[in-house]
Amino acid sequence: MAEPKTKYDRQLRIWGEQGQAALEKASICLLNCGPTGSETLKNLVLGGVGSITVIDGSKVEVGDLGNNFMVDESSVGQSKAKCVCAFLQELNDAVKAKFIEEYPEALIETTPSFFSQFTLVVALREANVMLIFARSYGLTGFVRISLKEHSVIESKPDHFLDDLRLNNPWPELRRFAESIDLDTQDSVAHKHTPYVLILVKMAEQWAKSHGGSLPSTREEKKEFKDLLKAKMVAMDEDNYKEAIEASFKVFAPRGISPDLQQILNDNRAEVDSNSSDFWGDGGCSEGSFIPSGISLLHSNLEFIANQGGGEAPLEGSIPDMTSSTELYVNLQNIYQAKAEADFLSIEQRVCRYRSIEDEFNSPILPELQKYLTDEDYSSVAIGFYILIRAVDRFAANYNSFPGQFDGGMDEDISRLKTTAVGLLSDLGCNGSTLTEDLINEMCRFGASELHAVAAFIGGIASQEVIKLITRQFVPMSGTFVFNGIDHKSQLLSL
């Protein structure tokens, strides 16, 4: 047996021992082990989740050998769940792998409480069970997280948006900057003063002589940079060069961006009305790193309005910069202390997700219309989204998917077109149409599952599962629609 710590070394460097412990406690259930689901589980078993349960009532067919690596010739005619489970167990003996040879639909019908034992179900919004849908269909497919709410412990921004607050320093940082006199330092100290302190001091000075405001016009910005240059006493002062390069951080407007402010205002209204139909699907973000389209909750909003003084909570890490050891370490401590204080002020960082049922029955109409009329990037993705739903309706009406069998293609194309138009009208988008090309392609796909597409979708699904279980990193929001034609895939917020 390998030392588990060594085996998992490359991932421990990402989510740490805490994240790994969470994975090892998780129990995952997979409904239907086609290639998409099998590939999803493969990535999770390798990472060392606690246990998996594969539920599938079907037998392995010859056709399955062409797109699922977890079955082979000896599996034909046997339980698919059993074969997939056996291969998965081979990958990692630390994982408890089980299978149930039964159709999930039947299980849901007879014993719905069965699913509440799991941490996460791949493919019911049962209490406290996370659910993720993943599906591949020809050159398209989608991934959708469905759970009531989710709290992120650490969002771990992987690159500094350089939230250094140079334009709005808090008292401790300001005091630290004040303790240094750039004009009387000896030359060694002068070239080892971190640029953060230089900029805080210079910005303060500027504000004093400009009625409290910071440089904003092009001329003012240039003047500010010239002032920095004038402070240099030698050509090799890298800290001053860094200060000049980073001076745009002083010019940035204080507080959060107007776009984000708008989102917050919208959200606040909804949260206050206690609506369960929360704006958009949300991942939630800690700190100042706030990806667009992510809904923040109460506590975060309250923070920005109150303790934060208009700013989001500080993330706290600082980039390396030219500096003496002492000043750098002190500076680091000041940022860390502020981040910890901000952290304590936030009770919880929670994301809520709209139910899939709500999305399906009443998508957010303005968003839907926006996507449908966007001729540029997303038109194919939204087209696929509508068509994936249309083929299900088609299958319910005609007992097979369009193009599933050879022959009758022309009839299927016109039926799918009618079905899609009907669906769009039910969603409130009368008069919207999809391109003939896309409808034809969808019929050509004929419910096929290509291995490469399944591996892509399964990869995305497993990535999101890891984020949900470790409670680190921000999970995706909305419905991810895969566009395998030119890879212009998209996340839709509906």
Binding site: A2, T6, K7, D9, R10, Q11, L12, R13, K42, N43, L46, G47, V62, G63, L65, G66, N67, F69, D72, E73, E90, L139, P157, D158, P291, I294, S323, S324, T325, V329, G403, D406, E436, D437, E441, R444, F445, G446, S448, H451, A452, A454, A455, F456, G458, G459, I460, Q463, I466, K467, F473, V474, P475, M476, F480, I485, D486, H487, K488, L491
Partner: protein, 449 residues
């Protein structure tokens, strides 16, 4: 639902895409059973690397209808591979990756033949590479990508209007990952930017100035690099540091801790020490799966034309939410690697030795220890010794004669160039023109004759 015979075929799903006509397709798509069979029988795909991406790629390509695959990897399996390189088991540790990966995929996917090569990519001749329809890159270093890019571009020929000749284009599909991020791209030399055209996408590795390490350490990494690069040599005069030697690593860690305590710097751990010293890149199964799948899908589309292709660079970032983006980069027309070649005018009297000396001083090349190849013939090889001995007598001969007395021709030279004090193997294409020869005009493409 009745089962038709198609349902009984292992290509049940793939057939939908390869046998049926489509609307959003590539230029030369001719759907039919012949296309499917050709992909199986005649398309030869080379996978470079049998690691995190390579294992996935071999599986994905084998299940995308390709039956002739070869794979090169110079590494042996390590325990730290097992969290993502799913073709390897604990019992395989120590065995060559290429061999185990090939065997495992062949065991599970019948009809697929995978030939493993346990060697460096530089060990193979140009002829070896010219044999493949598509080269798929699952590599982890910039240098290796750069090398193979130059190899693929060396096959490229231009017509007299400086347009790439289609039959000489060797397509590459490249993937790369780090943690929750990754990229997939298509390189069609002469059509889309090659690796070298967009080399700026890969920023140089951060190196700490020695004075920072010695005088003003600020981060845990500075303390570790001080112990590794400065203190080690001070204490172990002459004894080389070996990162795979557990005792050495432990020593560096202890020294780094001492230094961190001295300067009041937090964060030195044994794991970080290993990470910094060995430049370990965090890696997980899911990101590799995503990027490899995108690469395999593009390979299938390039080979079959069954759909449009990625144009030409996909980035994926799953660290905060989920972001995918397609960017269409443009070629650098003056690119030394995928462009028509560096033009060199020569006297007909120059010897091969003089020519090799000239390469070292040529401002666009600065290539030392060059080996020279003309239309697949080795004119001079620096290594291996057997070849060196065989070709040594050419050095004193006249190059013009060695090249068959053609006025214009293409030469391939490999050698070393140095950049930031590091040496790299480099392959360059030269467009050689001999002065004063009334040869055939407009023979820019003599290399293909």
């Amino acid at each position: 639902m009745a089962e038709t015979p198609a349902q009984l075929s292992r290509s049940r799903d793939l057939d939908k895409l390869l046998l049926r006509p489509g609307n959003l397709i590539g230029a030369n798509f001719e759907p039919g059973e012949e296309l499917r069979d050709d992909i199986g029988k005649y398309a030869k795909v080379l996978v470079l690397g049998a690691g995190g991406l390579g294992c996935e790629l071999l599986k994905d390509l084998a299940l995308s209808g390709f039956q002739n695959l070869e794979v090169i990897d110079m590494d042996r399996i390590e325990v730290t591979n097992l969290n993502r390189q799913f073709l390897f088991r604990f019992e395989d540790v120590g065995k060559p990756k290429a061999e185990v990966a090939a065997k495992r995929v062949m065991e599970r996917v019948s009809g697929v033949n995978i030939k493993p090569h346990y060697c460096r990519i530089e060990d193979k001749e140009l002829d070896f590479y010219s044999d493949f329809s598509i080269i798929v890159l699952g590599l982890d270093s910039i240098e290796a990508r750069s090398y193979i890019n130059a190899v693929a571009c060396s096959f490229l020929e231009y017509d007299s209007d400086d347009n790439a000749r289609e039959e000489t284009i060797k397509p590459m599909v490249d993937g790369g990952t780090e943690g929750f991020k990754g990229h997939a791209r298509i390189i069609l030399p002469g059509v889309t930017p090659c690796f070298e055209c967009t080399i700026w996408l890969f920023p140089p590795q951060v190196k700490f100035p020695l004075c920072t390490l010695a005088e003003t350490p600020r981060t845990a990494a500075h303390c570790i690099e001080y112990a590794h690069l400065i203190k080690w040599d001070e204490v172990h005069s002459g004894k080389a540091f070996d990162p795979d030697e557990a005792e050495h690593m432990k020593w560096v860690y202890n020294e780094a801790v001492k230094r961190a305590v001295l300067f009041g710097i937090p964060g030195v751990t044994f794991s970080l020490t290993q990470g910094v010293v060995k430049n370990i890149i965090p890696a997980i199964a899911s990101t590799n799966a995503i990027i490899s799948a995108a690469c395999a899908l593009e390979t299938l589309k390039l080979a079959s034309g069954c759909s449009k292709t990625l144009s030409n660079y996909l980035t994926y970032n799953g660290a905060e939410g989920l972001h995918t983006k397609v960017t269409e980069f443009v070629r650098d027309k003056d690119c030394l690697v995928c462009g028509p070649g560096v033009l060199i005018e020569l006297e007909t009297s120059i010897t091969l030795q003089k020519f090799i000396d000239l390469l070292e001083e040529h401002p666009k090349l600065l290539l030392s220890k060059a080996s020279v190849t003309h239309q697949g013939n080795n004119l001079y090889m620096q290594a291996p010794p057997v070849l060196e001995e065989m070709t040594r007598s050419n050095l004193n001969q006249v190059l013009f004669d060695l090249m068959g007395k053609t006025a214009k021709s293409i030469l391939h030279v490999t050698g070393t160039t140095s950049k930031n004090d590091k040496k790299f193997s480099t392959l360059r294409k030269l467009r050689v023109v001999f002065k004063g020869v009334d040869g055939v005009t407009d023979m820019d493409t003599a290399g293909g004759a």
